[in-house]
């Protein structure tokens, strides 16, 4: 590990696990314009010599630690799969892009037929590309995000308050996503997008117990959540929104997610085999979600 920044004891131990098990090196990089959730650039996905975890420069304490923990877990999962010769990146080909765009186009046309104000063709074409790449990114992230959060929660009890804040922030950002485009996006995609994040939030709401919230109540901006359980915080937002119908799809997705994840022993010894098993679960979840959304040809 190459870093000059202070790291708490548990996070140093956390960093040692992938370095020892995968026989690899992790560098930490602080950048002013980094993504709020940080970024992992790893040797298994990219043609580089060492793994780098990038996080926002303004995160100097536990927020930084949580980002490191999250990406270390991700690295362990990818590394374990790679060591077994099984690591695959969920990507696309010329043909799959064509099939995906075609499906969105046909759905958009159906929606447009019932609209008074038609979308200009130019906008419609733009929409195809935006939606396609959007769903690719979300599908690439969502199952892993859920698994990683559950794993970090069980393995790093000392940063649970930090994790809770991250989860709530992420949830809010994901809920806001696409809101401005609600009227122009084909209904099906709007609902599916929301349903994906709904299912993740519901799973995490069940996984993160309520008592962890209490210490952050000293923060003025968090006071409005007083006396609410984590589950209530996450669910209240969803049930008070216009996209309530996402709940129906979201509940089905939650079932898909819960089935394999409820079998995981999150406190088991962190071996290569253990993380490879998590990889297989994430891999299958990705396939199942794509299949449920009838996007398996994408």
């Amino acid at each position: 590990m190459k870093t000059e920044m202070p790291l708490s004891k548990p996070i140093r131990r956390f960093l040692n696990t992938p370095e020892e098990l995968l026989d690899t090196e992790i560098s930490l990089l602080r950048q002013p314009d980094a993504e709020p959730g940080g970024t992992l650039v790893d040797i298994y996905t990219y043609d580089i010599e060492r793994n780098v975890i990038i996080f926002p420069a303004q995160y100097v304490g536990l927020l930084k630690d949580f980002i490191i923990a999250k990406h270390c877990t991700n690295l362990m999962i990818k590394g374990a799969a790679s060591k077994k010769g099984e690591y695959k990146v969920c990507s696309y080909t010329e043909e799959s892009v064509y099939r995906g765009l075609r499906q969105i186009y046909l759905d958009a046309l159906k929606d447009e037929a019932n609209k008074k104000d038609k979308l200009p063709v130019q906008k419609l074409i733009q929409l195809l590309f935006i939606l396609f790449s959007h769903f690719n990114e979300d599908v690439n992230e969502l199952p892993w995000n859920t698994i990683i959060n559950a794993s970090v929660y069980h393995r790093m009890p000392k940063i649970r308050k930090t994790q809770l804040y991250h989860v709530m922030k992420e949830s809010k950002n994901d809920m806001d996503e696409m809101m401005e485009q609600e009227e122009i996006i084909p209904r099906r995609y709007f609902v599916l997008n929301k349903a994906m994040f709904y299912s993740r939030d519901m799973f995490l709401a069940k996984t993160l117990p309520a008592d962890e919230l209490m210490p952050v109540l000293n923060i003025p901006q968090m006071k409005k959540f007083n006396h609410l359980e984590v589950k209530e915080i996450l669910t209240t937002r969803w049930t008070h929104t216009a996209w309530y119908q996402s709940k129906v799809f979201g509940d089905n997705m939650l079932e898909i997610i819960e089935r394999p994840l409820s079998q995981v022993n999150w406190s088991a010894e962190p071996t290569l085999d253990y993380f490879y098993d998590l990889y297989k679960i994430g891999f299958n979840l990705t396939n199942q979600l794509l299949s449920y959304m009838t996007m398996k040809d994408w």
Binding site: E4, P6, Y59, L62, N218, M222
Partner: protein, 152 residues
């Protein structure tokens, strides 16, 4: 005039340091210090770059110079705590970071370093308290930053 020039050099140095161009930053800080060695901020800024480049022992000397110029200069105490932590002198790091946090209760890094040092000294409960304070402040700063971004 020299003080004004020195301030200008500090500004330039800081701008390089923010972009992690430490060599250039150090050159400007050195120029600033040769013109105005009585500015604690200049010693503190150079100490920050020295820490970021792995020279914690040298950084410690710069922090001491800043503190000698102003006993209550909180950023220098905070940086000193960090330098001691890097040198694995946890008792000293704890003292410096505690001083920094008492001078500026809103210093996230000082609280965090305090927590880390306490943790290393196996004073787990006190460490959790310091971490808690550091997290509170960090979240408030993060929420404010988000608001600014939205309002931009």
């Amino acid at each position: 005039m020299t003080v004004k020039e020195a301030a200008e050099f500090l500004k330039k140095g800081h701008s390089y340091a923010k972009r992690t161009k430490y060599k250039e930053a150090l050159a400007y800080y050195n120029k600033a210090l040769s013109l105005d060695p009585n500015n604690p901020e200049a010693w503190y800024l150079r100490a920050s770059v020295l820490i970021d480049t792995g020279k914690s022992q040298e950084a410690l000397a710069d922090c001491d110079k800043a503190i000698a110029l102003d006993q209550n200069y909180a950023p220098a105490w905070s940086k000193k705590g960090l330098a001691y932590y890097n040198l694995e002198k946890f008792e000293d790091g704890l003292y410096a970071s505690t001083r920094a946090a008492s001078l500026n209760g809103n210093d996230v890094t000082a609280w965090y370093i305090k927590g880390v040092c306490l943790d290393e000294l196996n004073r787990s409960d006190e460490a959790q308290e310091a971490y808690g304070k550091s997290l509170e402040l960090e979240i408030i700063l993060d929420i404010e930053a988000e608001r600014k971004k939205i309002g931009r």
